[in-house]
């Protein structure tokens, strides 16, 4: 057997020198796989959407985070990126898109309007998407610079990497979904 060298290729995953074996816990491998290939669903409504498009472009390049493929179908998306103002008229649609996503799913709220209503404290704007769906990371800014959006995404990656595999089945998570009255239209057999 060769010398055991700690040469981590993936964070926290030990490899044994040259033998083609890797020693890690399953949740770390799964977490690494999930974090490095998040498929985002860009729910871009207004100005933050254009900054999001600039982040996707070659100058700030989201593809290096494994987010090359923008999934526009909620069924195949991991991360819902809500960029832009959500009005009360659009809120049920946002909720429906979130419900259509399969677990595990995360939500990134980009911009002041999505996080809290922004400068539009008016009768028609939803004061923050966390009134209808649970949010994981908020990115402030109006619009946030691409570097800030990337930091938001890196925070999502951090959440993904350290999430327990059983989190989505826990009571705490179910309680969170119940608070938002999600999935109440579908028959539940869980």
């Amino acid at each position: 057997m060769g010398k055991v060298e700690k040469k981590p290729r993936i964070e926290d995953v030990e490899t044994i020198n040259g033998e083609g074996f890797q020693l890690a816990t399953l949740d770390k491998v799964i977490a690494a796989a999930r974090a490095n290939s998040v498929w985002p669903l860009p729910f871009a409504t207004s100005c933050c959407g254009i900054e999001y498009m600039a982040t996707m472009g070659s100058n700030y390049d989201l593809a290096r985070f494994g987010m090359e493929r923008m999934s526009f179908s909620p069924r195949q998306a991991d991360l819902l990126i809500v960029a832009g103002t959500i009005s009360k008229k659009l809120a049920p649609i946002l909720k429906q898109v979130y419900e259509q996503m399969a677990e595990p799913k995360w939500v990134l709220s980009v911009g002041a309007c999505a996080s809290s209503g922004g400068i539009f404290d008016t009768y028609s704007v939803l004061q923050g998407i966390d009134r209808v769906i649970p949010v994981d990371v908020y990115v402030p800014g109006c619009p946030p610079r691409p570097e800030q959006i990337i930091e938001g995404i890196m925070n999502i990656h951090r959440l993904v990497k350290h999430e327990s595999l059983r989190r989505r089945y826990s009571d705490e998570y179910k309680h969170l979904l119940n608070k938002y009255h999600l999935n109440e239209d579908e028959p539940t057999d869980k």
Binding site: S46, G57, K89, P92, V97, T122, S124, V125, P143
Partner: protein, 406 residues
Amino acid sequence: MSDSLNKPASLFSKDTIDGEIATLNLGPTHPATHGIFQNVLTVDGEKILNSVQTVGYIHRAFEKLAERRPYNQITPITDRLNYCSSPINNMGWEMTVEKLIGAEIPKRVEYMRVIIMELARIADHLVCNAVIGVDTGALTGFTYMFQQREAIYELFEEVCGARLTTNIGRIGGFERDFNDTFYKKLDAFLKNFPKHFEEFDSLLLRNRILMDRTINAGPIAGDRALEYGFTGPNLRAAGIDYDVRVMNPYSSYQDFDFTVPVGTQGDTYDRFCVRQEEIRQSLKIIRQALDNMPEGHHFAANIPEFYLPRKDDVYTKMEALIYHFKIVMGETPVPVGEVYHSVEGGNGELGFHLISDGGRTPYRLQFRRPCFIYYQAYPEMITGQTISDAVLTLSSLNVIAGELDA
């Protein structure tokens, strides 16, 4: 599904003739529609028979919001109308207030404004044309042109500090002069951009696939477009050469020599070509403005009641202190009056109808939003076309959701 989601679809009848006619819901969140608006199409196979639109998904109540804010705080709201070319909106608003108060703007400031507005117009048309390319499958142009937009963003950042929603300029001029870095970057832009733009042009303009997809897609005749109230590149693509910069010149546009490109059929290819040519004309205007910029370092009009005084004056002179206090608190002496001013935005005639009652906030501010007015014509443009043409027509109209719903 909750009831409110089904509401738009129930606006038309569900009768089918021999089961051949189907209804297809395009939107409101759909990757092909660049923006949040819904179209419920009645299709016979691929052919569209009718469509019913629902807008208002990003209604942010700008007009009501404007009644609450003092005049210099409304500029950030105008940013968010057509956010791809926000400097044009900002300057249109500032010019409206300057018209109301009767301010005399120095020529140098007007030339500076022209440079910024034409840069914004280039940015807006780049987005639209790149997105027309994306919708036909040409993703390369999008990546190349967004790189160039970064160069324009850097120019805006030198002046006002922000990239997209710029809040650029003040009532009376600019907040600071263009510094040397700006001129260096602008020269570099004027040198580098044309060759990248011509590369983008060569990829798409005479491309067989683009031409086959876009010619005769979503046409509208000139007189029909006028009935709807079209303005901007969409109207010029239909053959009518109405450009607010030529018809009601503002900010010294009469000093510049540029042509207004006009199309023939009003289809998607014409809109694409008109915008391409307008980008070239904008570059020409910027060069002229840069070459003929009047001497001096002043960057604002002499209207101390509306334009913030220099900070060292505020600390030493009494009048400057009082003006500073009044402007920041929003107690500016705006006369009673009603004014309508329009500028040539990225999408057409962007108008501001301002009614002031002498108070610190407008009594009524209405935006004439070109997108809202010409988007009405969309069902007529796509009837008889295929679904893929409908998607292409929508992206070529350059409907910006912020301007549509306001």
